[in-house]
């Protein structure tokens, strides 16, 4: 071992002089735009390791590996140059030599049996290359293994208008379109079901048949019952609210229509190009449908022109392209038009939601009672999970006395609903937050104080047993309250102007990998390779859908290795080269992939430090890693360049390789459905929205939004702000203008972007994004999700603001002018007013009791504030489960709690009579219990 390698002063200055004590390190020659080492950026190095970065309360497990390189700095997305030059290649931009154009024949009927298909005329048309029908795709698939109910093309019957019947590929688009008119099909029309309430009843021909697990002969796909807590607390409430909501279907509205290119290469392998959020599910489904082993399929993710959940199912058109290509031996390109995008749908479920809640005289929330009937459309998609999310994601961030949830998802003859940004949580969250506002009004207390006095602390468990780690809810609420000047506005603005509050809570990565046991396989794996040139290639399956997952992965690797981000190359497009990854859904990518990437990068970093140890003779504990250089802590002049260390480490071995994986810790309970909604961390958000309501026209304009989101740690504040503002936009669409309109005959009437009203720039309010950092103990550098959670609070914030403006509660979203106007007219007539401008708007009507309660809430939230800080800084590490506020002992397991405590996933027979709308599904029996199919 050398005695130490001292960098020599650079003697090659232009004037030939040497400056005593000032040395230049040899250029590392390792790329990047900066030729010499930069100083450490102390503003981005945490205080605990000698920097200046302010640290929020909480644990900081990654402090030791922070190098101040890039984490926490606003940074353009690494692929933004491809996007601004028009060179990003989306699905339809993949043009292979000798390609053919595929088109899909869609069902003209809502519900019908296919008696026969005659394709002879299609095949005879000059220019037609291949034709396929349901007979070519007998195997079913589906995104969830428990509900594989889709086929590439209808096998026996079509289940909604626009369902896939057959497909054809031809030399050009015009020929393919003409061919679609030549199919001769004999139909037997069946009686369709459109109303989800009807779906709860027995039918002659259920849309799907699940054999012995089928619920009587209904169209119920999934029913859920959950009851937690002490139901006796609900009796004799001090205050209560009751809301019955109608929420329409909402579509993701991504700008890129679905597109796919399939090509069976000369080696007999399928190369499939598709804009997918979850290429791995497509990979699995293709293998099943095509009957080809997975290793003979390469799924190539193109750039994704917006996903929001709408591109996370394996899609039948992907199978169609593959089948046509297999038949013809030519590449097949299928691109949807906008109408087809709505036929394939997977948007938010149309929902009928009923929420009852109660509070006691101390202002504690004694019970949530939620009933959600959701309209699944023709297929299951993610619906199994959505059925749970509608209930379980509505509980936190509040501490509840009891929670009762009944949910049911039914099949109807409409395009399938599925996962959409804020999956399953959005609609009930809106209903719950508005319900809280109603209770606050009844009790005459400030709704923000009511919330602040009922929050779960950090490091606690929700009523359904979810483990909460970091929790920035309180800070978020306080910051939007102060930022919006709430005290001077709420209940004090003139008629037509209002301000409202909403909160949210969302998973940061689903704790259950759908296809495998999380205890056996990791959630995410990342491979890193560093070769002699010094560039770092990162292989990950994380699918960048515009949210910047590629950037996040590059950032964390860049931070750990202290290399400029230009030296990090993320390869995430091909299943051939990327490790298996579940892709971009459930807000999992930053949390899980970045964690895996950190682990892989740490392995490389250890190898570099050990090599530097070899050269310098100083133990790695005493070495500092900074911009392309590793040096001795106490004398920075003693050091090696990154390349020197790298080449030393490569001796005898060649390129450095590492692999890092992330697996979630064991969490949560063991009851049925315990895994739904379970996540290694949760994000929290609070919004205040200000609206102007034109009482004569019924037109609502949202003018200002203060949007605080707890994302743990903003790895890239620019991207986090973009996600917050974008979420506001999408949520505003749902609350003010967007809905999928099904006519009297069940026909989707607005399958285009003209009639489906996505907010344009004129409808956007000014959004003030507020980033709250609570530093999650398990997140990468403390980070949690920021993509879906920020959508939740905007809906209730707007609905509550509308109430503050005109004193009318609306329970029918979206709040289009016709609905708002009807509500105003109704109230005007009821109050016998001449003019709508005379409407009274709500004001506090304090009495001695409410003033007392208000004081109590303030006092409690002040106490809880101290409690939260103590728990966040781990001064207080005692156990805390939901219910402590009501006197439960957190040290006793949930099931052994006080007498009234209950945890049930099936209703007692005596409860059956009083269940809500969706709860009616529990009146039916499964076929096996009825002695049906075994």
């Amino acid at each position: 071992m050398s005695a130490g390698y001292r960098q020599q002063p650079n003697s090659s200055r232009k004037d030939g002089k040497r400056v005593a004590g000032k040395q230049v390190f040899p250029p590392p020659g390792s790329g990047g735009s900066r030729p010499v080492m930069k100083e450490r950026d102390l503003d981005y190095i945490p205080k605990s390791v000698g920097g200046k970065e302010h640290q929020p309360a909480g644990s900081h497990i990654h402090d030791r590996i922070r190098t101040g390189t890039i984490v926490g700095k606003s940074l353009p997305l690494v692929d933004s140059n491809a996007k601004v030059t028009g060179q990003a290649w989306y699905g339809d931009d993949v043009r292979l030599p000798n390609e053919s154009i595929g088109k899909i024949l869609r069902s003209p009927h809502h519900y019908a049996k296919i008696k026969s298909i005659d394709t002879s005329k299609v095949e005879a048309l000059p220019g037609v290359i291949a034709v396929a029908t349901g007979a070519d795709s007998p195997s079913s698939f589906g995104v969830l293994p428990v509900t594989k109910d889709e086929h590439a093309m209808a096998v026996e019957k079509v289940r909604h208008m626009g369902d896939l019947v057959a497909c054809v590929s031809a030399v050009d688009e015009a020929t393919a379109i003409e061919a679609l008119g030549l199919f001769e099909i004999e139909w037997e029309i069946l009686e369709p079901v459109f109303d989800p309430k009807k779906g709860l009843e027995d039918s002659d021909e259920p849309i799907h048949w699940r054999g012995k697990y089928h619920l009587s002969k209904t169209n119920v796909q999934k029913r859920v019952f959950q009851e937690f807590g002490d139901r006796s607390l609900v009796e004799n409430p001090y205050s209560s609210s009751h809301g019955k909501w109608t929420m329409h279907g909402v579509h993701h509205g991504f700008t890129e229509p679905h597109a796919v290119v399939a090509h069976w290469d000369p080696n007999g392998r399928l190369q499939l190009y598709t804009p997918q959020q979850v290429p791995h599910y497509t990979h699995r489904a293709l293998s099943t449908v095509l009957d080809v082993p997975m290793h003979q399929i390469n799924v190539i993710r193109t750039f994704v022109g917006g996903g929001f959940g709408g591109k996370s199912d394996p899609f039948p058109h992907e199978m169609c392209a593959a089948i046509l290509s297999r038949k013809s031996g030519r590449p097949v390109r299928i691109t949807f038009d906008r109408e087809e995008v709505y036929w394939i749908n997977r948007g938010r479920h149309p929902s009928n939601i009923e929420v009852k809640m109660t509070a006691d005289e101390e202002g504690r929330i004694s019970g949530f009672d939620i009933d959600a009937l959701i309209d699944g459309g023709g297929f299951a998609s993610f619906g199994h999970v959505t059925s749970y999310y509608n209930g379980v994601l509505a509980t936190a961030p509040y501490e509840l006395g009891s929670f009762h949830y009944t949910g049911a998802r039914v099949w109807t003859n409409k395009p399938a609903s599925g996962a959409m940004r804020g999956h399953g949580a959005v609609n009930t969250r809106c209903a719950v937050e508005v319900g809280l506002d109603e209770m606050a009004e009844e009790m005459n207390v400030d709704p923000i104080d009511l919330r602040l006095a009922n929050l779960l602390p950090p490091h606690s468990r929700t009523i359904t047993g979810f483990r909460i780690t970091s929790n920035g809810m309180r800070e978020a609420l306080e910051r939007v309250r102060d930022g919006s000047d709430w005290e001077n506005k709420f209940r004090k603005l003139p008629l037509g102007k209002g301000i409202g509050i909403g909160c949210g809570f969302f998973i940061s990565g689903s704790g259950l990998p759908i296809h495998w046991d999380p205890n056996r396989f990791p959630h995410a794996t990342v491979h890193i390779q560093v070769d002699m040139d010094g560039g770092v290639t990162v292989h990950t399956g994380a699918a960048d859908i515009g949210q910047g997952s590629t950037t996040a992965v590059a950032q964390v690797v860049s931070e750990v290795l202290a290399l400029p981000i230009e030296m990090i190359h993320v390869r995430s497009h091909e299943s051939d080269t990327s490790p298996v990854d579940l892709g971009s859904y459930s807000s999992r990518v930053t949390f899980m992939n970045a964690n895996a990437a950190i682990r892989a990068a740490l392995e490389i970093r250890d190898k570099l430090l050990n090599a530097a140890w070899d050269i310098l003779g100083y133990h790695p504990n005493t070495l500092v890693i900074n911009d392309r250089r590793i040096y001795y802590k106490h004398d920075p002049a003693i050091g090696v360049s990154y390349l020197q260390a790298l080449h030393k480490a490569q001796e005898d071995k060649g390129a450095l390789i590492s692999s890092g994986a992330y697996r979630s810790p064991p969490m949560g309970g063991v009851h049925k459905g315990a895994a739904a909604g379970l996540a290694p961390a949760y994000s929290f958000s609070a919004y205040v929205a200000e609206v102007d309501v034109d009482v004569e026209l019924g037109l609502i304009k949202c003018t200002n939004v203060w949007a605080a989101h707890d994302c743990g740690k903003a790895l890239n504040p620019l991207a986090v702000k973009g996600q917050i503002i974008g979420s506001c936009h999408m949520g505003l669409g749902q609350v003010l203008s967007e809905k999928m309109v099904y006519g009297r005959t069940g026909h989707l009437q607005n399958a285009n972007l003209l009639d489906y009203k996505i907010p344009s720039i004129h409808e956007m309010p000014h959004v003030e994004p507020i980033i709250v950092e609570s530093s999650d103990p398990e997140g990468p550098f403390g980070a949690k999700e920021a993509g879906e959670g920020p959508l939740l609070p905007i809906l209730p914030a707007v609905v509550n603001a509308v109430y503050d403006a005109i004193g009318i509660r609306y329970n029918d979203l979206p709040l289009t002018p016709d609905i708002v106007y009807k509500g105003i007219e109704k109230k005007r007539k009821k109050l016998k007013l001449e003019d709508a401008t005379e409407l009274p708007n709500p004001r506090y009507t304090h009495g001695p009791k409410s003033i007392e309660l208000q004081k109590l809430l303030k006092k409690r939230s002040e106490e809880h504030r101290k409690r939260d800080i103590a728990r966040q800084t781990t001064e207080d590490t005692s156990a805390y489960v939901n219910g402590v506020l009501f006197g439960f002992d957190p040290n006793i397991p949930l099931e052994d709690q006080l007498e009234g405590w209950r945890m049930a996933t099936e209703p007692d027979p005596e409860q059956l009579a009083e269940l809500g709308l969706a709860g009616k599904a529990w009146l039916k029996k499964e076929q096996r219990e009825m002695g049906g199919e075994n």
Binding site: N10, G86, G127, T255, P257, G546, P636, G722, G726, L754
Partner: protein
């Protein structure tokens, strides 16, 4: 009806280059640009003139190529997103979109860039209202528009000459084997 083969000669200047190709008489400009000229940066989002992804500049005006027959614009000067940069350097509007978060998934970005550039070419100090009007025909589902407006404002500053353009990312790296600056940057704590 069997589709007819393209038979009409169509010529125009696309991104400064003369282009000549055979089209059918009812060809849509968007299809000609994507399928024949090869400017795949022009995106197809809706085919209905609602999303603005297919916006191109025709003689300096932002126009929707999906609502335009190719025959209507033959001989005109067409600029797509590919024509905004000069190859080696990105246009200010492009760097600003990257740096201010104006582009997330990027599918609507070409349309926004063209709309914004058409505005800035005519008016380098647009008000927020003017910016809103310029991009009202473009839908973006990711950004909520706020960072797009930020990007356009920043680009306007560069157009007015108030701010130096950031060194474009497409610049070649500086001398890969430099001699080093006179005042080398040193790690903190080094004894001088």
């Amino acid at each position: 009806m069997t589709p007819k083969a393209p038979s009409e000669i169509w010529s125009a200047e696309v991104n400064g280059e003369p282009v000549e190709t055979l089209i059918t008489s009812n060809a849509i400009l968007l299809d000609v640009l994507r399928d024949q000229v090869g400017t795949l940066g022009v995106k197809r989002g809706c085919d209905l003139g609602t999303c603005g992804c297919c916006t191109v500049m025709i003689d300096g005006d932002a126009r929707l190529s999906c609502l335009c027959l190719a025959g209507q614009v033959s001989g005109r000067d067409i600029v797509t997103v590919e024509g905004l940069s000069d190859g080696a350097h990105l246009a200010p509007i492009q760097t600003c979109f990257a740096e201010h978060g104006g582009s997330q998934c990027g599918f609507c970005t070409p349309g926004f860039l063209i709309s914004a550039q058409a505005l800035l070419t005519k008016n380098d100090s647009p008000t927020d209202e003017e910016i809103s009007i310029a991009i009202e025909g473009n839908l973006c589902r990711c950004t909520g528009y706020q960072q797009i407006v930020d990007s356009i404002r920043a680009a306007a500053e560069i157009h007015r000459g108030e701010v130096e353009p950031a060194p474009p990312a497409s610049d070649p790296h500086p001398n890969p084997h430099p001699e080093g600056p006179d005042e080398p940057s040193m790690p903190p704590g080094h004894a001088r």
